[in-house]
């Protein structure tokens, strides 16, 4: 299991476009990926799931990876967050 934390810098947070791109990136991996904000956690491979967190600028999200390709997934998602959010 791997875990990363990230504070959102994008002005509009995780709306439809970043949610779609995030899920596309996350969907390439076999490991279970979850996104958590405060106490709510969701399947990070579900577009509506991650949009339902209502993540905004300044919010901290925690993403966990659990499975055989967790290290690679964690690296890819970290790069995605830095580039897009």
């Amino acid at each position: 299991m791997k875990e990363i934390k990230y504070v959102i810098k994008d002005e509009v947070g995780i709306h439809a476009r970043p949610a779609g791109l995030f899920v596309k990136a996350a969907g390439k991996f076999n490991c279970m990926i979850k996104m958590k904000k405060d106490t709510a956690d969701v399947d990070a491979k579900s577009i509506l799931g991650i949009m339902s967190l209502g993540v905004k600028k300044g919010d901290e999200i925690t993403i966990t990876f659990d499975g055989s390709d967790e290290a690679e997934a964690s690296d890819t998602i970290t790069a995605f967050l830095v580039e897009n959010l």
């Binding site: 439809a16 779609g20 509506l48 949009m51």
Partner: protein
């Protein structure tokens, strides 16, 4: 969802018909000038060029998420279909201006309930395309998503047939 529905015992139960959430012209997603929709990154579906500034519930279900900016809403039908309706392109940047909502996240909705009103002319004048993608976000749960495009529809007129 009940046990019998999960089994999908016959074709009638497997097929879902979704009506239009607005009056407008129905076109394929590939006509949407935004790769997130045009390349179906959010899922398969269609787009509507609105002819009136009203959005109604196309299904019975629940409001999954209404964005603070009111430009997009996700719905979860009683059958578990995840529908995202995004009113206009890049309209997140309007921060709610020109949009008025009549529901909130978590509300139960019935087919035909008013969800949003929006001022098409003001949105266009601000430089945005009002084309409205209607996306099935859990596309992978279905074997077929068949949009009925190329026609002008009234609210709740059939626009999409999906099969499990």
């Amino acid at each position: 969802m009940g046990f019998m529905e999960k089994l999908g015992l016959n074709n009638r139960e497997k097929e879902l018909i979704i009506g239009s959430p607005m009056k407008g012209e129905v076109c394929p997603l590939t006509e949407v000038n935004d790769p997130v929709f045009g390349e179906k990154i959010l899922g398969d579906g269609l787009a509507i060029k609105p002819l009136a500034g009203r959005l109604v519930a196309p299904v019975n279900g629940t409001v999954g998420m209404l964005f603070d900016t009111k430009h997009a809403i996700s719905l979860i039908s009683e059958q578990g279909t995840e529908i995202l309706i995004h009113v206009g392109l890049d309209t997140v940047n309007l921060k709610g201006k020109f949009y008025k909502s009549f529901v909130k996240t978590g509300d139960k909705i019935k087919e035909g309930d008013l969800l949003l009103e929006f001022d098409m002319e003001q949105i266009k004048a601000a430089g945005y395309d009002v084309i409205t993608p209607v996306i099935i976000c859990n596309t992978a749960a279905y074997s077929e998503i068949n949009p009925i495009t190329g026609k002008r529809v009234e609210e709740l007129e059939k626009i999409l047939i999906i099969k499990k």
